[in-house]
Symmetry: C2
Subunit: 423 residues, 2 copies
């Protein structure tokens, strides 16, 4: 046990010197579950600590832009529910979540041609909890999870907790590499495929309809569920909406959704769409995990959604993020050396950069931070622990256009410096 | 898959009859993780469905009394944080939780002679999530958890999810049976002891200081952590506060706390107190589970706590619950047959009744519900699946004194009827 703690307990009137002495000899680490020893520490958590300074232009975050939060409308909604629903909004509630909120979500799916029963929707404490409940419900130690690579690090962390074995499949500019998918999809104990098909975190890549159909064809009839995680789907700046896997392979698709990117993240409100046999298990897992999602905030959010136009709010977000994405792409084209490649996101919050082979984005990070510009090196988005990658993630949602050009220009100078060293 | 779902997907433009046909032949159950197949379905969930009718006097709930919620003060706190902190309260936040809220909690422990560092406090999504994070962090399949019996069913459910093996120890009127504890505490792979030492759910029993010391002496130096779950500790109507296990065996005690019973439950705000080596693991588990607890509500709650007196609010709750507990005890003394025994709670929300041997509380429930009075049969509070128990839980927090007398009188008639059948 650490010594600070030790010192503090000295002051406790009932502390027992003997007990603590004998305790000190016990190896605490041996008491932890195997699952928790395996989980990678959050790399981004550590990086974000370095990048909070005001002087730094940070493309490292993964946050929505707080200037666009509908603060006043949420305050009005809060007052409305306090005044009209009173103490009921403060009591324990149902594990499934507030039914009118689930109906609202179902109605939005209906607009996209997806007929979802509100009973097949479970409100979760953010979509990260949706992942946790799916891990709890499906994964025995050693079960396989197919995951796009690079992929969402929160999913890598979560499935590591349940001691899944990852079957990474390369993410190409239009979606998964189908040849690689074919090689892994027949493996025994492969239960899930995890994908962010729209404006992926970290790459900004969107699957083409053809790739979606090819993925569905490969999995069709196999005992594998597709987890379609879609936090950014509403934030399309250009191009056409694609079919969901739920359109193409409905019985094998589980959807994850979230209000974190379209309304606000601090409420931690997301959802899972799953059919009844799965939902029955998810409800048991949800109840054991936290009984139910914060009910007051479900009521507040629902009130906001019925007394405001979510679509016109999303339109505002899309205009700002779209301009910023555009500014980032044109600055990259203007300043980055031609050897550097990058994705062209049609929505979401991220863009993915690939440096020439052998150029380490970790080394680039160390140099860039000295020039007051930050990003996330690609390492944590791979399932294998890598010493060095030549990839990096850039966020464009929280930096205005002027700062984006300034930051990309600074970054280009550091990249050129590294490339010259290499020559 | 269920047929309703099947029918609905017919309307989806991209639905593929072949894919669904082949999928239908897959045995979905074989895909679930072992852990989720073992978890008992919530019995109380089912019971509460029967007892929602207005005409029923329900002692079945486990809810705090919503008439006492500080609704107006919380609305004021909500407006204050919206107006003074603005969009910041709506953004993602730290996994650990809002520091001033953790300091507030630490200061309340200090008043009880417990010196807790705010860094040793993690804000959780209700104390149920505290349990989940501890299960994630400590329990490998088959590891032993010592648990008081009868014990909190949320803990039984949760540790079942992590496939723990339970070592139940009988809960006597002054705490655990020490002889039984001695028989199990040396068993290999015994990692945790779970206890609600103050006004336990379901029994209302409080451990005497002597029993606490005897438990601590037995575990002292053994590689076992005591999880002291204390949601009701502030709700003492009579008698003196007891020492916490954190006073007696500080290095081996992990505390769970909650604002659900002292402020409101819908916010889902609880906490864990653990020392650094454990906290490091809990933070990894928390981040993978839901990133962080609803930050807006943490801010709102903290504002409520600093601009109101929590103690004077708790005093109001204690006066009401104390009167209702008193009414229940005196009604039981007045109406129940002498062969029925019951606990005398000094706080909390529950009282535990033991019928003569061979009298089934499930059978009593079926008869009682016909007389419009409800309670929870003892079955779900045991780690073994029992067909029949002679015990039951009565809640007194949500029923006023007049209704309590009326309900206990009705219940006594049904008990007498069952006893007469038995003769």
């Amino acid at each position: 046990m650490n010594s600070t703690k030790q010192d503090k307990t000295e002051t406790s009137s009932e502390s027992n010197e003997d007990s603590r002495s004998s305790w000190r000899t016990i190896e605490t680490n041996s008491l932890f579950a195997d699952r928790i020893s395996d989980v990678p520490k959050s790399f981004i958590r550590e990086i974000l600590k370095v990048t909070v300074s005001e002087s730094i232009i940070s493309f490292a975050g993964g946050l929505p832009n707080r200037d666009l939060f509908p603060t006043k409308a949420l305050q009005d909604a809060s007052n409305f529910v306090f005044e009209n629903a009173g103490s009921e909004i403060l009591q324990y509630s149902t594990t499934e979540g507030y039914l009118p909120l689930r109906k609202f979500i179902a109605e939005r799916y209906a607009l996209r041609g997806l007929e979802i029963n509100p009973e097949d929707i479970l409100i979760t404490t953010g979509s990260q909890q949706g992942l946790d409940l799916l891990g709890k419900t499906f994964i025995n130690e050693g079960d396989n999870v197919i995951i796009e690579e690079p992929g969402y690090l929160g999913a890598i962390q979560l499935f590591s907790v349940y001691r899944a074995t990852f079957l990474p499949v390369a993410l190409e500019n239009d979606g998964l590499n189908i040849e690689q998918l074919k090689q892994v999809s027949g493996k025994k104990n492969t239960k899930l495929l995890y994908t962010v098909p729209n404006f992926s975190n970290p790459t900004g890549i969107t699957y083409s309809t053809e790739k979606r159909k090819a993925v569905a064809e490969e999995l069709n009839g196999k005992p594998i569920f597709i987890i379609e995680d879609d936090p950014y789907g509403d934030l399309r700046y250009k191009g056409e909406n694609q079919l969901s896997f739920k359109h193409i392979l409905p019985e094998q698709t589980i959807l994850l959704g979230s209000f974190s990117k379209t309304v606000v993240p601090s409420f931690r409100i997301g959802w899972i769409v799953a059919s009844k046999p799965i939902m029955d298990k998810l409800l048991v897992a949800k109840q054991a995990s936290d009984l139910h999602t914060n009910y007051f905030t479900q009521r507040l959010l629902h009130q906001f959604l019925v007394s405001n136009s979510l679509d016109s709010h999303i339109k505002t977000i899309k205009e700002v993020y779209g301009r910023q994405a555009e500014a980032m792409v044109s600055s990259i084209k203007k300043y980055f050396p031609a050897e550097v490649s990058f994705t062209l996101p049609e929505g979401g919050m991220f863009l993915w950069v690939t440096l020439p082979k052998g150029i380490s984005s970790m080394k680039l990070f160390d140099l860039a931070i000295k020039e007051d510009v930050a990003f996330v090196p690609g390492n944590p988005f791979y399932t294998q622990k890598l010493e060095s990658t030549n990839t990096l993630r850039l966020n464009f949602s929280c930096v205005d256009e002027k700062k984006i050009e300034e930051g990309i220009k600074k970054l280009s100078l550091v990249i050129k410096k590294l490339l010259n060293e290499k020559l």
